[in-house]
Structure formats: structure tokens, C-alpha cells
Amino acid sequence: MSNEPIEDEAKQDPREAVDRSCRGPVLFLGFSAVAWLLVYSLFAMLAGVKVHAPGMMADSAWLAYGRIQPASQLALQFGFLVQLGLAVSAWILCHRGKTVLVDGGYLVFGGMLWNTGVMFGFVGILIGNASGLEGLQMPGKVLPLLFFGFVLVGLSLVQTNNRRTDEEMSPAQWFLFAATLWLPWVLAGSYLLIHFFNAKGVVANVVDWWFIRNFASIYLTFVGLGTLFHFLPALSGCRLVGRGYAQFAFWVMLLFGSIGGVSPGAPVPAWLPALSTVTAVFYFFGVVAACVCIKQTISGASVEDNADGTAYDLMRLAALIFISISVLNVFFAFPGPGATAQFTTYGPAMDLLFNLGFVGLTLIAALYHIFPRLAGMDFCPKMTGVQTMAIILGVFGMIPPVAFGGLMSGDATLGFSYYFASLGDLLLLVGSAILFLNFLGAILFSIKNCDCLAGICCKGEKKETNA
């Protein structure tokens, strides 16, 4: 418990000072991310139910499948993944650079702007103002808000990274630094091209595919890999093996992850799908290098502190999911297998597995490690066990049936796999609800115990216990 006077402790352990600088901003971003995860799982379940019961909720326009499905995607990607990614990035950049978080206020203010943006986007889709594009479903007017929110957070992160104590940057820092800069670039680029310069016809779709590709293959992948590159060595107490491989992976994935994403047979000039196949294959070389790096780091290593056991195992699972998805993705990038999977529910299921199974699990595992250091108290261990199990079972319950069902039944049909998927949705909802309550409860409890509020509620009591 952090009931001791904090100033003294900071002198003893610089890590504590670093954590103290991160506390408010990172917990704020983390909490809003967890809240968005709950929103996502609720709406994903509603969308799944609509498929079983076509007549349900048919009288309200805002509950149409075509509205709640994209809205839930927005909550997952922009609400949950990006925010938790930023929170975890901030913490890692501080700890890797052995420096306090610079201008943490930007993080809070930027986070508020970002949340407002996601909220407007979410409500905008539900009331029928969607843009009609797949990756940028939210109304165009929301994008500047999101951009400025992210830039404010990014300013703080980049300054923190520049203020690092060692000149050397580790692979985790490259990846997180690149991700932090990359998302505002592509967000601004897509906004300008689509909404400001009014891209006509399929050019808007090309820009949209470009955004989707960059968002998944660069932003999310880099955040996930950066987190793994920090935590896998840190939790097992060894060094990251294979800096050269990481460097190779960084540049190759950056170059080839930023181009492509056009499906075979799309109504665009034929070089675009062909180029996408080429970049998908080259991107895979980068992924292999990153995986070699991870494999060499974790082979033979074991977790140092048993308290981090769950986080370490979750990250290894996430790394395994990442490798599996990458292999499948490069296989289905070729025109032959790609045509089989095209338009089936396989594609969205794999995207979801990537979002939740790789990036989501990695970030949640990181949260398990970070949270007790920031809040001064741990999640309730029983609830943590249940929520972790529920989230993992939910991910594996909702995704593989839809993916394989899609591959087997083809397009324009829905197999019975959707019934299993709803079970997964339900488990995920339970898991994210427990995570939310766990987070909220721990925060409330630690605020109660915190010195900052001690004057108001129970200062006298605490002094007695300290004495």
C-alpha cells in the first residue's frame, strides 16, 4: 500500500516517481478504454442477436443492424484499442526512457477530446450520419476532433521520449514512437482526401482501404509489438534478443504495411489488388523477423515475479495469435485462396481476432501489470481470473466459428455458426463487465485510501494505522 509519504519514497525508487507522474493521465485513458470495451461488447452482442431474431427491435431505426455493427466497431477500435494503446505507450515510454511523463495534462485533455470525438462518432452512426465508408464509418466532422485529441496525447508522448535518460532507444520505443506519429498522419491524410478534397467515386474507397491497412498493419500492430517487446523481456527479467531482427521488422513492416489492403476483384485498376498481394507477402517477412525476435526472447525464460504470471501468459497467447493470423493473412492474400474467402464472414472474423485476440489481449495484459503500480492496489484476484477466462473464451467462442463457417458456407449465406458466436459475445460481455467493475472498484478503493482525499474522509483513521 502506498500510504507512506510519497516524497520520501520517490527518492528511494525512481520508478515510483515515474509511476506517480503517469498515475492520473494513464488511469484516465485506461478507464475510458475499459468503458468503451464494455460498450463494444454490449453492442456486438445486440448485433449478433439481430441475426438470430430478425423481428426483434425492428421498430427503432437506431437499432438497425447496419447501425449498431459499425458503431460497435468504432467503440472497439477507436474507443478501446487506441486509448488503451496510448495509455500503455505512455507508461512504457516513461519507463524505458527512465523519465517522468512530460505534460501529463495534455494526455488528459487530449484523451477528453478523443473520447468526445469517439462519442460523437458513435452517436452519429446510431442516428444515421455514418459516412458510408468501411474504415472511417464515423461522420466526417468528427475526424478533426479525433485528430487534435490524438495530437495532444502524442505531443506528450513524443516529448517524454525525447527526454529519455539513455540515448539508446530500444525496439519497444521505436515501435511505440512510430505508432504514435503514424496514426495522426493517416487520420489527417484520409480526412483531407475524403472530406476536404472530396475524393470522387472509388478514389474515396481507395483512401479508405489505405486507412484501414495503415490502422491495422501499422498502428495497431506496432502498438501490440511494442508492448510485447517491452513486457516480454521486462517480466522475465532478461534482455530482448535480436535487435537487428527488430530493426529489420520495423522498416519492412512500416514500408509494406502502409500500402495495400485492396481485395482481389475490387472495381479499381488491377494493379491495386496486385500491389496489395505483393505488399502482403513482403510484410510477412517483417512479421517473421519480429516473431524470431519474440521467440528468441521468450525461449527458456520464465516470469520473474509470480504476480505477473497472468500478464506474461496472456502476452504469450497474444503473440501466438499474432503469428497464426499473420500466416493465415499471407495465405489468403494470394488471389486463389483470397477469392474463396472474399465476401464471406471469414474476413471480419479475422479482423476481430486481430483486434481483440492480439492487440486487445496484449494491452489488457499490460494493464494488469501497470494498474497496481499506478493505483497503488491490485485488481481483485478472483474477479481478474474470471474476467480473463471470460474474455479469452469469449474471443475464441465468437471468432473461429464465424471464420470457419464463413469459409465453408461461402458468401451470401450464414451458417449456424452464428449461434455459437452469440455465446462468445455473451462471454465477452460478462468478461468486459467484470473488468469494468474491477477497474472501477479498485479505483474507488484506492481513491478512498489515497492521501489526496484523506483530508476529506478518513485522515485521522489513516494516521492511526500508520502509527
Binding site: 430478425p54 423481428g55 425492428a58 421498430d59 431505426a61 438497425a64 443492424y65 447496419g66 447501425r67 455493427q69 459499425p70 452512426i125 444515421g128 455514418a130 459516412s131 458510408g132 465508408l133 468501411e134 513524443v158 539508446e168 532507444m169 521505436w174 503514424w182 482526401l193 475524393a199 470522387k200 467515386g201 472509388v202 478514389v203 474507397n205 481507395v206 489505405w210 535487435r243 537487428g244 531482427y245 530493426q247 529489420f248 521488422a249 522498416w251 519492412v252 512500416l254 514500408l255 502502409s258 500500402i259 481485395s263 476483384g265 475490387a266 472495381p267 479499381v268 491495386l272 500491389l275 472474399q342 465476401f343 464471406t344 464472414t345 474476413g347 471480419p348 458468401d411 451470401a412 450464414l414
Partner: protein, 353 residues
């Protein structure tokens, strides 16, 4: 210097010279390898945020110009093209949405129809068949041309015309050929003085079903969708998942009434349909209301709202995969004397399905 950066720079040089400068790929590969070796002798530090930033900016520019700007340069030049309807009338294509259809697109967008329906017809490939006819005089020369053609393309065939072309009758010389082989066959046969007829077949699940031309078709369009189909779409809602059928050509294969009852209650139109009902697009009608616009669902009667009217008008205006374009022609059957199903009938039977 690690293999990482030097390899990247090599790849960068190679891909820029291949995709942007447009060099022949082996030369681009050589340029890339050379650059890899050359840069491998340098040492670039990954510890400076400045060099990271420069590298990232370079990659960002390559990505934006190599994919987005290049595509928009090519696509911004799209213009109206001439096409013809099924009855042979010629007109300029694409046709901008008129009347209610203009507002229907917004309803389609707002309700996220693209979450389950695509608007892009694809095809798997194109193959060509060639038939020939020779008279008495040139029969030997044509027969010789056929065997030389087969030797030239290195394909074995022991059927039909290869064994012996009947005099004065059409017979297939080659089936399932690609464009290059078909052109070669035509040139060989023409040079030998034969009459030549070529049949173009587009194969694909999405296209019209046809006994010979495309046995596995589902009838979602007469041709594949191309970029010019979406000149007036804001934005084109291509979709990526087909939980329901493709709608690029829905206006050509259904009626207004069928769409209305499908929107109100899909299960009434097709048993076991998983499409959600869209009752919010309809109002309950009074018991004494009569008229064409009244739709019955069980005991309850409904009338469409303005949104439903414009949405259906928009859907009925979607006929893009119906008209041949230069870059997306439709099937061209044999025109010669051998019995073949007439093209108009074939298209009509496909549309019916």
C-alpha cells in the same frame, strides 16, 4: 549496419524503380540488390528520433504517392462512356441518380446496408473459344494451320478440329483459351484463309447463369463492376461482406413491391431469411386505407414512409452491372451457323433467375 535498414533501402530502391519509374522487374531487382549492398556499408543509428522521423516521413510519402495519388491520378480521368441497353438503345453511361433515388442513397448509407450487402460484381476470369470453317480449296492449309497452332502454344488436343475439320462446316478449333492464344489461333486461321468466329465467355459465380457460357452463375450481373460504375456514388458503398446478396444490379432483377415486402418482413418473401426486419421504415396503416402502397404483413397492414419510398427508388436505380463498357464487356457468343442459344434469351433466362 544490420540487415534491416540496408535491406529496406534496397527494397525501397527496387520497388520505386519497379512501380514508379516502371523499370522491367529483373532490372528493378538488380537495382534493389545493388542498393542493399551499397547501403549495407553505411551505418544508420536507430537511436536518434530525428533519423527515425526522416525514415518514417519518407515511407509515408512513398505510401501516399505510390498507392493513393497514383490511383486517383488514374481514376480522376474517368469520363462518360457509350453503352447500350438490353434492347439495343445507345446512351451515355453512367446515368446520375434521378428523382427519389438521389435521396435514397443517404437512407442506404444511414442504415448501413453495406454492412451485409456488397455493391460489386466480380468475375473469375475470361476465356475464349475459337471456331473455324474451311472450304474445299483451303481445307489442307487450314488443317495444317491448326496443327501448327497447337504446336506453337505447346498444347495437346486430340478432339474435334485437330483430327479433321469437316469441309464447309463450323467446328471448334480451341476452347477455354486465354486472350493471347485465341488471338494466335485467329491469326493462324485467317492466314490460311479460313472463316473464324470467336466466342468470349466471362466466368464467375456472380455473373448470369448460362448453360454453356457460365454454368455456376448466380445472376447478379451481366458483367463485373468497374470504377466507372461509381462515378456518381457518394461514396461508393462497395461493402466487403456478403451476408446477403450483392445489390449492384438489384434494380434489374426485382420489382418495387418485392423490395417493399422484403424490407418490411424478409421472412414473408423468403422462408428462413436472416435479414432483419426494417419496420421503422413503415407506418401502420388504418383499417380502411386502401391502395397500391399498402403492404400486408400477417393481419397488420403497413404503408411505407418517405424513407422507404426513396430507399426503394434508389435500389431500383441500381443497374450498373447491366450495360457493357469497353473495359468491362459482356459475353459475346458465337455468331456463326452452329446452333447456339440466342444471346437475348440467355440473358433473359439469367435475369429471371
Amino acid at each position: 549496419m544490420t540487415i534491416g535498414l540496408s535491406f529496406l533501402l534496397g527494397l525501397l530502391a527496387g520497388s520505386v524503380s519497379c512501380f514508379m519509374v516502371g523499370l522491367w522487374w529483373p532490372i528493378a531487382l538488380a537495382v534493389g540488390l545493388f542498393a542493399w549492398l551499397a547501403f549495407g556499408l553505411l551505418d544508420v543509428k536507430m537511436d536518434s528520433t530525428f533519423s527515425l522521423l526522416c525514415g518514417m516521413l519518407l515511407v509515408f510519402c512513398v505510401s501516399l504517392s505510390g498507392m493513393v495519388f497514383r490511383a486517383s491520378d488514374q481514376l480522376n480521368g474517368l469520363q462518360y462512356a457509350d453503352t447500350q441497353g438490353e434492347d439495343g438503345t445507345e446512351f451515355s453511361y453512367p446515368v446520375p441518380p434521378l428523382g427519389d433515388a438521389r435521396y435514397g442513397e443517404a437512407v442506404y448509407k444511414a442504415n448501413g446496408c453495406a454492412a451485409c450487402h456488397t455493391q460489386q460484381v466480380t468475375h473469375e476470369g475470361v476465356t475464349l473459344d475459337v471456331k473455324a470453317m474451311a472450304g474445299n480449296k483451303n481445307h489442307a492449309a487450314v488443317q495444317d494451320a491448326i496443327s501448327r497452332f497447337y504446336k506453337d502454344i505447346g498444347r495437346e488436343d486430340s478432339s474435334g478440329a485437330v483430327l479433321g475439320l469437316p469441309v464447309g462446316e463450323w467446328d471448334r478449333v480451341v476452347t477455354d483459351a486465354n486472350a493471347g492464344d485465341a488471338l494466335k489461333a485467329r491469326n493462324f486461321l485467317k492466314a490460311a484463309g479460313a472463316s473464324v468466329d470467336v466466342q468470349v465467355r466471362f466466368r464467375g459465380e456472380d455473373l448470369m447463369q448460362h448453360e454453356y457460357l457460365n454454368p455456376e452463375g448466380r445472376g447478379w450481373g451481366r458483367r463485373r463492376s468497374v470504377a466507372s460504375d461509381y462515378l456518381f456514388a457518394e461514396p461508393p458503398m462497395l461493402g466487403s461482406v456478403r451476408i446477403g446478396p450483392d445489390l449492384a444490379n438489384i434494380g434489374a432483377r426485382t420489382t418495387r413491391e418485392a423490395l417493399m415486402s422484403l424490407l418490411l418482413n424478409p421472412a414473408s418473401a423468403r422462408a428462413g431469411a436472416r435479414m432483419p426486419q426494417h419496420r421503422f421504415l413503415f407506418k401502420k396503416a388504418g383499417k380502411d386505407e386502401q391502395g397500391q402502397h399498402i403492404i400486408h404483413d400477417g393481419e397488420q397492414t403497413y404503408k411505407p414512409t418517405r424513407d422507404a419510398e426513396v430507399l426503394v427508388a434508389y435500389l431500383m436505380s441500381l443497374k450498373s452491372a447491366n450495360y457493357p463498357l469497353a473495359e468491362a464487356p459482356i459475353n459475346k457468343p458465337f455468331t456463326s451457323s452452329l446452333p447456339n442459344p440466342a444471346p437475348a434469351e440467355a440473358a433473359a433466362s439469367g435475369a429471371g433467375k
